[in-house]
Each structure stands twice: as C-alpha cells, then as structure tokens.
C-alpha cells in the first residue's frame, strides 16, 4: 500500500486535550480511517499547532481524502513518499 504525507492547516490551532475526550476523538479518527482502509501512522505538529504533517498508508489519494472528510480534517496537499534514512545504503556495501 502506498504511503502518503498529508499536509493540513488548522487556522484556529489544533487542540486535542489529553483527557478521555481527547483519547476518544483520536480513536474515532482511527475507526473512520479503517472504513477506508487508511492507516494513520504518525503526525508532526508545528509548534504553533497550526500545521500538521501526517504520514498515512492508504490505497489511493481519494481514500485519504474520504477518510479526512469523514473525520472533518482539512487537507492542503497530499504527496506520495517513501522512507529514506541515514543508514539507507549501509546494507548495499
């Protein structure tokens, strides 16, 4: 399944309280993603909490958008990405 980087903007800032409600909100997103065969891997949030960069696995960009739509998450841009790390070439030596 392809991996995508999804950029989102939250003009009012992203607020997820570290309470039972916050936990419920996140699990809700996970459930709704599952209906589209989309997996949320992890997100990076800017310090002002206005932008997020999220890594997702999913069947297509349309599925990523549908999943975002059912969780009411904004989508600025979707890019298809793959993993590169500093030790990428070590195995090939």
């Amino acid at each position: 399944m392809p991996r995508y980087l999804v950029e989102r903007t939250f003009p009012g800032g992203l607020e997820i309280p570290s309470t039972r409600d916050g936990r419920k909100a996140l699990l809700g997103v996970v459930d709704r993603n599952a209906a589209e065969q989309v997996t949320w891997v992890r997100s990076f949030v800017t310090n002002d909490r206005r932008k997020t960069f999220c890594i997702y696995d999913g069947p297509s960009p349309e599925a990523i958008r549908r999943a975002a739509g059912s969780s009411e998450l904004p989508v600025d841009a979707i890019s298809e990405v793959s993993v590169l790390d500093p030790y990428f070439y070590v195995g090939g030596e």
């Binding site: 995508y4 459930d31 297509s60 960009p61 349309e62 549908r66 739509g69 841009a77 890019s79």
Partner: protein
C-alpha cells in the same frame, strides 16, 4: 457416510434455511478432483429431503463441452419442473430469466446444483454470472462445485468468480483433505498405515477410498489402485467398465451390450464391485478420475472401435456435441466432417463462442471432405466467432479464405459480405485504415448490383467508421444513402441503423442539440419495438456523445439508463464504459469526490485492462488528481495515453490534454509541444469541434498556435480569441467550474481574484497556487481563502458524502442498501451514519431525518 464434513454441511444447511426466508445465495464449493465435493452436495440434497426442490446439473468433461449442459440436465428431470425450458428455441437470456423466475418458491426453497463448473462452456459461464448476481432476493441456494487447483490465472471461469465473490450473497467453501484419524475410521477393521495413506493421497477423499478398498498392499499410485480394482473383476465385468469409460458423462445401459458384447449380469457384477454406479438408466464411474484412469489404459484400437460403435448407436441423436466428441475420439476425418459443423452452429446459437470455435476448427481440419460451399460458410461463421473472442489474426485468415472462394466463384455479394466482416475485425484489431479499405471494397463490389439490404448495412457500417474517425461529410453521406435504401427496400433494420448513424454524426460534428433529440426519438422507437440490442446502442451513443459535447444532463441520464440496462443483461463491457463516461463527466463538472466511485464500478465490470473503458476511466481519475495536485495522476495519464495510442482520437485526446496540463501546472511549458503535437495533427484532420477546441486550447496555452480553428467549440474558441469574460460565462452555462477559473485567470485583477476563489473552492491547489504567484507579481499580496464549497453548501457541516448518505437514509434505506447503492462497505456507511447523527446532535435515524428536513438539507 461423510467424514469431517459436518461443519461444511451445517454452513450449507444454514444457507438453505436462509433461502427459505427469502435470502438466496450462491455457494461456491471448491476442492481438488476427488476431494469429495459431489458427496458433500449429494448429502446436502439428501438431508434437505422433500422440504426443498432439488435440481441437479453438471458440466461436461467433453473435449468441447455441450453448451448449457447443466440447464439441459435441469430440463430433462421431470421432478425439477424445468421440462419446458428449451421449448420453442428461446434465446439464452430468456432461458436464464425463466430459471430465475422459478427460484422464488417461498414454500419449498430450491437447491440448484451445478457440478464441475471448471468445465463450463461460455454460455454456462454467462448463466452463472446471470444467476449469481440475482440469486440474493430469491428463495434458492445455487451450489457450484469446481476444482480450484485446475483454475489457472487465464482460466475463463476466473473472471466470473472474481466478479461473483464481491457480492454479499456469494459464499465460498473449501472442501479440506481428510485427516489421518478420518482415514483410520474409514479403514474400519482393516489394518492399514493411515499416515502412509495420508501421504500418498494427500487426504483426497476419493483416493483414500480407492486405496482403502484395494486391500492391504498399498499401490504406488492412485491410478494403479483404480486399475488394480478393475483388474480384479472378471473379464465380462471388466469389459463393461471399459465400455463405460469412453462415455464422458455416463453410458446408457442399453448401449453396453452393443459396445462390448457383455452379458446383462456382467453389469450387475460391475455395479456390485463399486467401480460403477447406476444413474437412472445409465451407468457411470463413481468419479471422473477413475474414468480417465481406465480410458487412458485402454489400447488405442479397441478405444477407437468403441467410439465408432458409439457413433453408430447415437445416429439420429440431436446431441450434436456428444456426436462430435465421439467423432473426434474415433479419429475418423469423415465422421468429424459429418458431425462437427452442426455442433459448431448449435454452440454459436447458444452464445458459446469458444466452444463453437473449437468445433469449427475440428470440422475445418478436414475441409477437403466437406462441400466447398459449406466450407466457405463455416469459415465465415468461424471468422465471426474468432473475432468475438479477440483472436483477430485467425479471424482474418478464415474470412480471407472464404472471400477468396466466393471471388473464384464470381459471387460478388458474398465476397462483399466477407469484406464487411473483415472490416469489423480490423476495426477491433485495431487497424482503422485497414477497416476503411475493406469496407470501401465491399461497397464497390455491391454497388453495381443495385439496392440491397446487405448494401444498406454495409453503408451504415461505413458511416460508423467515418463517424469514429470524426469525418463529417462522408459519414453523413453514407448514412443518408443507407436511409434512402432502407426506405426503398422497406427494411426497418436498415432504416433504424442509418437514422442512428446520421444522428451520431450530428451530435459529434454538427448540430449536437438536434442530433441528441433525434437519438432520444430512436431511443423511444427501440423501447416500443422491444429491441434491447438497439436500445443499448442508442443509450451508449446518447451517453458518450452527450458527454463529449458536454451536454451533461442528457449524457448522465442516458449513461445511468445504459449502465442499468447493460448490467441487467450482463453486457459488462457496455456497463463499464457507461461508468467510465460518468467518471469523465464528474471530473469535467468538478464533482471530484464522485470520480473514484464511478471508477470503482468500471474496475468491477471490466475484463480487459486495455479496453476503452479503462482508458476513459484512467483519464478521468488521472486528470482529477492532476488538478487537485494529488499524487498518481501522471502515471494514470501516461498509461491511458499509451494504451489509447492505437484507439480512435476521442479516447485519447482527454488524457493527452491532461498530460499537457500536468506539464503546464508544473511550470514545464516547454514539454507541452512534444506531448500535444501528434494528437493535434490527428485532431485537425477531423471535423470534431471539441477535439479542435480542447487540444487546440492547450496548444494555444503552450504558445504553439495563435488562435482557434474555424470549427473549435465555442467556449474554447472565445477564450483563445481573447474574450475571457464570454468564455467564463459560456463555461458557467455548461457547468464546468474549473474551466470558468481558467477563463477568469486570463482576465483583469478582479477576475483573477475570482478565479483563485473558484480554484480554492474546487480544491484545485496547483492552479490556485500558480495564480496567487502571478497576483503577487502584480502587487496583490494576499488572496484569502474562501470557505470551502462543501461547508458553504451544507449548513449542518456535513460533507458531500454524508449528505448523500443522509438523503438515502431519508429515503428509507437500510445501511446495507445504502452500501450497495453507493458502492461502499457496510462498515463505511455505519461510520457515515454515526458521524451524521453526531453532527446533527441526534441519536436516532428518524430524528436525523426530521432535523435534516427542518434545516432544508434534504428535500421534504
């Protein structure tokens, strides 16, 4: 007695009970040869007893199967109630519908068994597809057994199974191998090394039984086990067994004596040994594996002799496939030449092209023994079937030989008819130029003979070819001449087809409004005449023609009708093509959330990845991704352009424009020339305003041309002519918001700001970003984002998909029904519904509907 099948039997019995309650199903029972599929199904039928109507049919292991063999079995069983199935020579679709109608007995559900579908002929596969898709709302369970280990990737049954397993009414079961302890139980008192038997047989139920029956000494192979058992019979009984082995299904008892001279009591001892079983008034092997083991062990001379005797015994029989089988096995050219042609024609009539082709091939192998006139007719029919099967080279070869014969005979009419068929094959090849040459020659041959129905049909075909290459004058001329000829001859068919061709010319290259109106008239005519074939054709033309000239309302309505009608008669290619055009229209109208759903339908119905439906669907999805700036668009467009390069212009110009737009949005305008040039040359060679318009527009954007051609479609022409305001207005009228944005982007500062908003609204990020940069250069620093279209349109904050779901909830549909309707999983629909309830702050569906109506979100 069955071992280790309780669970399977319980599951199947549960399905029978559900059928009683109106929830029908298709059960696919898979397993290797000898796994015990038949025993399982027989046990199901036995245990259900008289509370069900049991109907059993099987596919033939004949070299070339008898078309619709299982249905012929149904019809021959007086208890099944299908005796009149084939009375009056009905066409296959009518037969299928008649079967379906009888599956609605609410008191006694039907258990319909179709054995060995891996041997099914084309027509039977069509039947399985037909019944599998419709069994859900009946009171029946249709059980199909098949050997999954014999299904290669290219096996024609794979496509059918692939489509059927997607349905919620389809259940798949696997018959597992027997365990060591089951083998022990089976062996009873006999001392046997059960683990060793398990090893030799792999737990295959039939093999296990054969080996256990064989006694203490374990034979090295299963074939040895079978032969050892036959070898232990007395000479007379052995001859009975050998005689039965040459009959692939079963052998009528009365044929035993003439075949092998055995006395009647020998039949009893063969039955007593358990090698054979009685099946009504016929004998058969307990398993096909045993039959082949015995048949292969026969010495050739005696095998051939028996096949010849069989032919004498069957003389006068109407079972042409069975006759042809024995003729081939008898190795007698005369007999093949005598029986195969009839078998071929029957298979062709029943819609079993593949089987027909096999019989034609067998017959024509001995063409020197057949009357030359008949050979030519066979070649013509064989050529048409081969074209159906996509075997174009062979098709052309056969048709050419037939044409040469007619030419030598001086029969110009038939020669022309062959050329007409060749033209059709060449078109699918695809070789449009070759198709043109063949049809021109056919017309030249026919004209001196004066008006005829054949000339009329040939002119219609010629008009269609001109239409497909978008050449107006010759297409219109041929259609007009055909119409006159149809009127003069009083031929309804020629008149109708000529009229539709003429209307298509108008839609694509003339007065499209008048053309579409004429097509609507022919649509009514086809409905009145009850001619489904013509109706599918006209709807397809209305849909794709309406789509091409951007008459969207007409196009969508026709495409939905076309998709529904084609699906109801299992014309999958037409169904897929209809959904592909729905995807293209959704893309052009800016309804981008709908595109992927239509494309999923195309994938569900499409058989061949290189067909026009896939090219059209890939084009729409690819262009949408490019406009959204989403990944994957370029690859899809490149695939569509490559696959479409051999197809007519109308299938490729949109993906090619998409590639050009991709380069333009990426700031690589210099790449546009090489993308567009070949397609531009093809476009200006046609009389198609929309090809001139759209391809021309991107040529103009690339700075390769200065303005529109004379016939370019109006909105594109206006913009290329510099009148961006009128262009934007025209696009708004047609309903293409992205194109409105493109036109406004050419305007003054205010128009450009409006264009940015239009692009934001659509989620067209690359175009919006590009325009923001240009505005910045002009000193306009910041164009704020407007609210997204979705939120603005729906005060409750529902997404378009949620709104769609809510509408269906309000229409009284269940989650399962909504899932079917929207092509979503039931789980997705559940999520949407719960999201809707949360957003509307209600806790029941009924409250949600009420709130939605109050807010005006759905119609009251």
């Amino acid at each position: 007695m069955l071992f280790e099948r309780d669970e399977l039997l319980a599951d199947l019995t549960a399905l029978v009970e559900r059928a009683r309650d109106g929830e029908g199903s298709l059960a696919l029972v898979a397993g290797e040869a000898g796994a015990g599929k038949t025993s399982l199904v027989s046990e199901l039928v036995r245990s259900a007893g008289s509370s069900v109507v049991a109907v059993v049919g099987a596919c033939d292991p004949l070299a070339t199967p008898r078309p619709l063999s299982p249905l012929l079995d149904f019809a021959s069983d007086p208890a099944a109630g299908f005796m009149d199935l084939f009375v009056g020579d009905p066409n296959p679709t009518d037969v299928f519908s008649a079967v379906l109608d009888r599956l609605k007995d609410t008191i006694r559900p039907t258990v319909m068994v179709v054995e060995d579908v891996h041997w099914a002929d084309d027509a039977t596969r069509d039947f399985l597809r037909f019944i599998g898709r419709r069994v859900g709302p009946t009171n029946a369970i249709v059980v199909c057994t098949y050997r999954d280990d014999e299904l290669t990737i290219e096996h024609p049954l794979q496509v059918v199974l692939g489509q059927l397993v997607r349905l919620s009414s389809t259940h798949r079961f696997e018959v597992p191998p027997l365990s060591v302890s089951a083998i022990e139980t089976l062996a009873g008192d006999r001392i046997i090394d059960a683990s060793r038997v398990r090893e030799i047989t792999g737990g295959n139920a039939f093999y296990v039984t054969e080996i256990v029956a064989g006694g203490e000494a374990l034979p090295p192979t299963v074939q040895d086990a079978v032969l050892a058992r036959v070898g232990s019979l007395d000479a007379q009984a052995r001859r009975v067994v050998e005689a039965v082995s040459i009959a692939p299904r079963s052998l009528e008892i009365e044929f035993v004596k003439p075949l092998c001279g055995a006395a009647p009591d020998a039949v009893d001892s063969a039955l007593g040994s358990g090698v054979l079983v009685a099946d009504g008034s016929a004998l058969r092997f307990r398993h096909e594996l045993a039959r082949t083991a015995v048949e292969t062990a026969l010495l050739a001379p005696s095998r051939i002799e028996m096949h010849r005797t069989m032919l004498r015994l069957l003389e006068g029989s109407s079972d042409s496939a069975r006759l042809a089988h024995h003729a081939v096995q008898a190795g007698s050219p005369e007999l093949v030449a005598q029986y195969a042609p009839q078998a071929a024609r029957e298979a062709s009539t029943r819609g079993a092209s593949r089987e027909a082709a096999a019989f034609y091939a067998a017959a024509l192998e001995h063409f020197d023994l057949i009357d030359p006139d008949e050979v030519a007719r066979l070649r013509a029919a064989y050529g048409s079937d081969l074209a159906e099967l996509g075997r174009s080279d062979e098709s052309l070869q056969q048709l050419t030989m037939a044409a040469e014969f007619y030419r030598a005979e001086g029969d110009e009419m038939s020669d022309a008819d062959m050329l007409r068929l060749m033209s059709r094959t060449l078109w699918r090849y695809p070789d449009p130029d070759g198709a043109r040459r063949a049809i021109d020659r056919a017309i030249a041959l026919l004209e001196p003979h004066g008006p005829s129905e054949l000339l009329g049909i040939t002119l219609v075909q010629s008009s269609s070819l001109h239409m497909l290459t978008r050449r107006r004058a010759p297409a219109a001329d041929d259609a007009r001449r055909a119409a006159e000829m149809g009127a003069a001859l009083g031929s309804q068919t020629v008149k109708f087809r000529a009229g539709v061709s003429d209307a298509c010319v108008e839609v694509g290259m003339g007065d499209s409004t008048a053309g579409l109106a004429a097509l609507e008239m022919y649509r009514r005519e086809a409905i009145e005449q009850g001619d489904t074939h013509h109706l599918v054709w006209v709807l397809g033309m209305l849909g794709s023609g309406g789509g091409e000239v951007r008459a969207y309302a007409t196009g969508i309505e026709a495409l939905e009708a076309a998709a529904a009608l084609s699906a109801s008669i299992d014309q999958d290619i037409n169904t897929a093509y209809s959904y592909a055009w729905m995807a293209r229209i959704a893309f052009e109208q800016g309804r981008w959330d709908d595109v992927a759903g239509h494309v999923a339908h195309v994938e569900a119905f499409m058989l061949d990845k290189l067909d026009v439906a896939t090219v059209t669907a890939d084009g729409a999805l690819g262009r949408m991704r490019v406009r959204r700036g989403d990944p994957g668009g370029f690859d899809l467009l490149r695939r569509a352009s490559a696959a479409g390069s051999g197809l007519e212009l109308q299938h490729v110009w949109s993906p090619i424009c998409g590639l050009a737009e991709h380069a333009w949005l990426g700031g690589r305008g210099e790449e546009m020339a090489s993308i567009l040039e070949a397609t531009w040359d093809r476009s200006i060679a046609t009389d198609s305003p929309w090809a001139h318009g759209e391809v021309g527009f991107w040529m103009w954007k690339a700075g390769l041309i200065d303005g529109p051609t004379a016939i370019a479609a109006e909105p594109f022409a206006l913009q290329m002519g510099g009148d961006w305001g009128a262009a934007a207005e025209a696009w708004r009228e047609i309903g293409c918001p992205y194109e409105v944005g493109l036109a406004l982007a050419d305007g003054d500062e205010a128009a450009m700001i409006e264009a940015v908003r239009t692009f934001d609204d659509l989620g067209a990020r690359p175009a919006a970003t590009m325009l923001r940069t240009r505005l910045k250069e002009l000193g306009v620093d910041h164009v704020p984002r407007g609210p997204s279209r979705a939120t603005r349109a729906n005060p409750a904050g529902l997404t378009p998909r949620q709104l769609e779901v809510l509408g269906l909830v309000a229409a009284g549909m269940s989650n399962a029904e909504i899932a079917d309707e929207l092509y979503l999983s039931k789980k997705t629909v559940e999520h949407h519904v719960s999201a809707i309830l949360t957003k509307l702050e209600v806790d029941t569906r009924a409250r949600a509907i009420a709130v939605a109506r109050d807010m005006g979100v759905v119609a009251t």
